[in-house]
Symmetry: C2
Subunit: 336 residues, 2 copies
DNA sequence: GTGAAAGCGCTAACAG
DNA sequence: CTGTTAGCGCTTTCAC
């Protein structure tokens, strides 16, 4: 068993209480004894037992971050940045992966409550349906939550931080239409996923405002929003005989799939068809034809999420927190 | 404050001890009272306080995973899989990110010890120099460690699990030479990084065995092993007038950078120049010209690391554990 | 079968 | 300034 405060107390010839105070740098204890205690502790490689400490303090100093998929570079960045901002704010961050499963989300919430985290940043599973349970249980346990990169049921009093997806999609689509593209195909995932639904509405608004009728545009709904699925869609597009002059994708990985597949099928991008992505992950630039896309500023999402969460922890009522919508930014590259 | 065992005891009219036993499904307590207690606990949404529990049990049930960079898809996959295998083995996994910094590694080790994790899987920072400190402190604290995806100083009694990088690089290089490529450029990062050094020696061995002299090959050493750095190197290659018929890269992201840059400069891949990567991350296949590469089976690394770690926790002496070298697999695609 | 009591390692009044 | 005491919430002998 590791060395304990009690042991150090004996070695230093003082009481455990004094050691505890000294180790925590309390002014209450005489500087000399403090130094002596600290050096003894250091010599013996004393490292406090977190569990005892947190139990006694009745506070964990921990925040939780729940993400659906760590292999998605977008979320990976969110993890890194949230981790940094949490540290800066004086908290530890416990990272939990839901693997896009409601079941795992349930388990994770239990862990989070069990670990008495002081706040949670949650990106709900990207699957149709509601992740209401997770938010309800957390708030029931009086743990502040903020929903990041998406929003949970508008009007639910779960504060959120996200980029303006509708606006971003409206902007990139409008840009295409202004450049004379009139026969777009929109490539998305299942409906009833909030972040996809609002992007779609941004796209439809842009089309309507550009005077493009419902019959002039096509929407491809895929079961998943990844590279492989997009390749399949691109094959369809190629087979359909090139009726389209623009492919608007809901994320960069899908746009990359479309770019690669269509290039191989002999399409000239952007001459034959313009392609846009969304997110501006590293691969948007690392694409053979660098992608026109919409940047979501993950760093800001992380920063604002932590900032909001600390305010909630500080007592800000959730219903006064509101939903933070961060600006998006159109990034024009060679694919359009 | 949340509901405690004591509260449930009162509600059920039994003692805290009985509640504790019942909640942990002990056979010692009568089935009826057990059910009654469990339903009361469930009704009131009882969730045990981890800190109290772990303190009392003198065991955390936690493993630690230290990785240098979560935005690297390769490590992200490792995280996901290790997380899964840890859960399966009945442990929780605490994920710590060192951001490739020794300082952060130090902090992380302290956290790990403080959290009394029962074992650690560590991928040391990918920077020149030794991360001996981290291993030393962990072993001093009698916490078993396994080094994953790389090895820490051969003969150091830190067991490791990794793929055979030398063998893998030898194989892919030999394959190129057999196909008639004789003027290779090898693109790598700083020396004194173990995983890079042994790949290089695999490459050099292959060249020697193929009868290619030192003067016939070029090695480009970049400060970093990422996409951007590789693009710079590729520009050099293009400017140098096409003296090379093969570019061998130490990872896929770099190969992707070379593919994209050279394509844009008008090179025909693989006719003018063959390009190989390493790792077989998703982007190797998602490349415009799918990459010939060497697969590192991350799932196996994760599985074997956890398996080895649990054996160490079970009492296996580290010096009997040895270093596990997993086979690599040449994946031939269109870039060669 | 169930309860009483002690203890995990630390913190935090409160005395002195 | 330092020590004594009493918990934090849970587990775990050991009696009954």
């Amino acid at each position: 068993m590791a060395i304990r405060i009690k042991d150090i107390a004996k070695l230093a010839g003082v009481s455990p209480a004094t050691v505890s105070l000294a180790l925590n740098g309390s002014e209450l204890v005489n500087e000399d004894t403090r130094k002596r205690i600290n050096s003894i502790a250091h010599e013996h490689g004393y490292i406090p037992n977190t569990y005892a400490r947190r139990l006694a303090m009745r506070r964990s100093g921990m925040l939780g971050l729940v993400i659906p998929d760590i292999e998605n570079v977008y979320y990976a960045s969110l993890v890194r940045m949230t981790n940094n901002y949490a540290q800066t704010a004086g908290y530890g961050l416990s990272i939990l992966i839901s693997d896009n499963s409601r079941e795992l989300e349930e388990k994770i919430v239990t862990e989070l409550i069990s670990a008495r985290v002081e706040g949670v940043i949650c990106v709900p599973a990207n699957i149709p349906g509601s992740s209401g349970e997770i938010f309800a249980r957390l708030t029931d346990a009086t743990i502040p939550v903020v929903c990041a990169t998406t929003r949970f049921e508008p009007g639910s009093f779960i504060p959120s931080v996200m980029c303006g997806l509708r606006e971003g999609m409206y902007e990139v689509a409008s840009y295409l239409f202004r450049r004379g593209r009139r026969r777009p195909v929109y490539i998305t995932g299942p409906s009833d996923v909030y972040t996809l639904d609002i992007r779609r509405s941004g796209f439809l608004d842009a089309a309507r405002d550009a005077g493009i009728g419902e019959s002039e545009l096509k929407i491809i709904e895929l079961p998943e929003v990844n590279y492989a699925a997009a390749c399949v869609a691109a094959q369809q597009i190629a087979d359909s005989g090139g009726n389209f002059d623009a492919a608007v994708c809901v994320n960069d990985m899908m746009a990359l799939g479309v770019v690669n597949t269509l290039s191989r099928r002999g399409f000239d991008i952007p001459r034959d068809i313009a392609i846009t992505g969304y997110d501006d992950v590293i691969f948007a630039e690392a694409s053979p034809t660098p992608l026109t896309t919409v940047r979501q500023d993950i760093d800001s999402i992380a920063r604002e999420s932590i900032a909001l969460l600390t305010r909630l922890i500080g007592g800000l009522p959730p219903d006064e927190a509101g939903d933070i919508v961060l600006p998006t930014q159109l990034v024009i590259r060679q694919s359009t």
